[in-house]
């Protein structure tokens, strides 16, 4: 995990260096005098060698200093800190919905293989993985906001202001985020469950005369979850990427909106900060997934 994190930091530093323009000039604006530019360049360490600059930058990152926004002149870490919880909530609810619906559907479909229900689930799952998230979001708006008028088409309400309205606002974005995950988890958990149900120990459980429901949900589920959890972990990153788009559909003030505004204003420190934080979150998620294996399968140990 540490080498990957280090790699992520190096990759983002390369992005910092590849970003067009002079950071000192961008920070000071066009009216800055050459002396002033020189002074700021020196203060930022831009007149040193690349390895030195990397060292300074890395030390900053480790202390939570991700640089200063060219536009708002605020610390990038502060900007991200106010937006991250919004996106994180979206991602967590989206993941929870996707995992719940996807795994349940996949398990049922495997237990009733080759029935009409199975065909229905596999078809819906295929639709789920083929659906562009932003289009699904728009379809949801068409149905629930414009035709039925049940939910607000866009916007965000803080939890502290009105919990009910907050929940209403969060529902459609997290549904659109979760649809792809639900589809891919249904497909994977079905395959995995089909394989598990063919194992000897499952036959033993059935031979003991246990109800099929107990065999599937108690005996087989835990073993069949291992490959599914791998997919879940891998998809969490994609889901965070998808949040960037979904936030645009629903005018949601998360890190995705922060990122896109920063891109349109060429506010590179913010762009790099967001990318770094999201990548770090993905790496952390993979660690959590690795730890989940040891709980699902006690035979797996990490020294």
């Amino acid at each position: 995990m540490i080498p990957v994190l280090l790699g992520v930091v190096v990759a983002v530093f390369i992005m910092v260096k590849l970003a067009p323009g002079d950071p000192a000039a961008a920070l000071l604006g066009v009216q800055a005098s050459p002396q002033e530019l020189e002074r700021v360049r020196h203060a930022m360490g831009l007149d040193r060698s690349w390895p030195e600059q990397f060292g300074i930058w890395l030390a900053g990152v480790l202390h939570g200093d991700l640089g200063t926004s060219y536009i708002s002149k605020k610390p990038v870490s502060e900007l991200i800190a106010t937006r991250l919880p919004v996106t994180f909530e979206l991602a967590v609810i989206g993941t929870a919905l996707g995992a719940l619906v996807g795994i349940t559907a996949g398990v049922i479909s495997a237990a009733r293989r080759y029935t009409r229900l199975d065909y229905l689930v596999t078809t819906l799952a295929l639709f789920g993985v083929s659906m562009p998230t932003f289009w699904f979001g728009i379809l949801l708006i068409l149905l629930f906001s414009l035709y039925l008028g049940w939910l607000p088409a866009s916007g965000f309400v803080p939890l502290t202001k009105d919990p009910l309205k907050h929940f209403e606002a969060v529902l459609m974005p997290s549904l659109s985020l979760g649809i792809f995950l639900a589809g891919s988890l249904a497909r994977f958990s079905r395959t995995s469950m089909v394989e598990t149900l063919a194992l000897q120990y499952v036959r033993t459980a059935q031979g003991k005369g246990l109800a099929q429901r107990t065999v599937v949900w108690v005996h087989a589920l835990r073993n069949s979850l291992i490959p599914t959890i791998t997919v879940l972990g891998a998809q969490f990153g994609a889901l965070l990427g998808g949040a960037v788009i979904v936030e645009q559909v629903f005018a949601y003030p998360g890190v995705g909106t922060l990122l896109l505004t920063a891109i349109s204003q060429r506010d590179y420190p913010v762009v790099e900060g967001v990318v770094l934080i999201v990548a770090a979150l993905v790496v952390l998620t993979n660690l959590v997934v690795d730890l989940a294996y040891t709980w699902l399968d006690p035979r797996i140990h990490y020294a």
């Binding site: 562009p132 728009i138 379809l139 068409l142 990427g241 788009i245 999201v278």
Partner: protein
């Protein structure tokens, strides 16, 4: 299911007398199995049709993609405009047909970039192992830490929006998709006796890789190509949707969908049909991908 796979070779004696070994060559076997998947064929047929439409868009389109007609702004689907018109009175069907060019072109080139780099890296890593393997795979891990769409968005931000840059951005983002699969396949091929025999016979490293290792990786690569095409087309649409892709007035499915959102109340078809085009294309690619992976590994049906 397993017993079926084992039983198959026994049926060979009843095969037709005409060149049985040619008919049983892996690619024929794969094609025969693929044919059994009707849905995969439906997907393949749709993709063929789409490619044809993209190639002949200027002939078959009822209108010109940039022709504006303010007297038919935001008109619903009709005999004159099958899928309706947009806010400039442009024909949506025409623009979707032209948009397929962008999607397919970017999809194919991006997958070409990702595939070429990913396959070469994966083969080298899997075949030579050791430090090369560690370095390549750690790089892939780092690349995978960035969500593909986010990585593509960031690369676009640094390079600036243009069609070529979209291809590069998506191409880079999906390198690990190929590198990991190819490496894994090479690792299963390498211990085979025929590979050892070729090495004992004194084959050079280049010959080993191209003649003895590479052919075995083709099946998994074909499956990855269909998957990667689906992802790439979704990613292209997402970038266009965010305004970071191919720039207007060139029609792209993603940008049409995005502009249509403004008129979602009075003209829902404006945003609906471009999205449907993306959905059906990706669905077809997924159907073909499913069919191909079944054909390669019938156990996992």
């Amino acid at each position: 299911m397993r017993s079926l796979t084992v039983a198959k070779p026994l049926a060979v004696p009843s095969a037709p007398a005409v060149a049985p070994e040619a008919r049983n060559a892996p690619r024929w076997r794969m094609w025969r199995r693929l044919r059994r998947h009707r849905l995969a064929l439906v997907g393949l047929a749709f993709l063929g049709l789409l490619i044809l439409c993209a190639l002949t868009a200027d002939v078959i389109s009822p209108y010109k993609p940039l022709d504006q007609a303010m007297n038919v702004r935001l008109k619903p689907p009709s005999a004159a405009h099958w899928l309706g018109t947009d806010d400039f009175g442009r024909d949506i069907l025409t623009r979707i047909l032209y948009g397929s060019r962008v999607s397919l072109q970017i999809g194919f080139v991006a997958v070409g970039i990702a595939g070429t780099l990913g396959i070469v890296l994966g083969m080298l890593a899997g075949y030579f192992g050791g430090w090369l393997d560690s370095v390549v795979m750690r790089c892939m891990d780092v690349l995978l830490a960035f969500p593909a769409v986010l990585l593509a968005v960031t690369i676009m931000a640094l390079l600036g929006p243009s069609t070529t840059n979209v291809m590069i951005a998506i191409g880079i983002a999906y390198i690990p998709l190929f590198a990991r699969v190819v490496r894994g396949t090479v690792l299963t091929i390498r211990p085979n006796e025929y590979v050892q025999a070729a090495r004992a016979a004194g084959a050079s490293e280049l010959r080993m890789l191209t003649y003895h290792i590479a052919p075995g990786t083709i099946g998994p690569i074909i499956v990855q190509v269909s998957l990667a095409l689906a992802y790439a087309i979704l990613a292209e649409a997402a970038l266009s949707f965010l305004g970071l892709g191919t720039q207007p007035p060139t029609p792209t499915w993603g940008s049409m969908l995005s502009f249509g959102r403004e008129f979602i109340r009075e003209a829902p078809w404006f945003t609906f049909f471009p999205g449907l085009a993306i959905f059906v294309t990706v669905l077809s690619l997924n159907l073909v991908g499913d069919g191909l992976s079944d054909a390669l590994d019938p156990r996992l049906s």
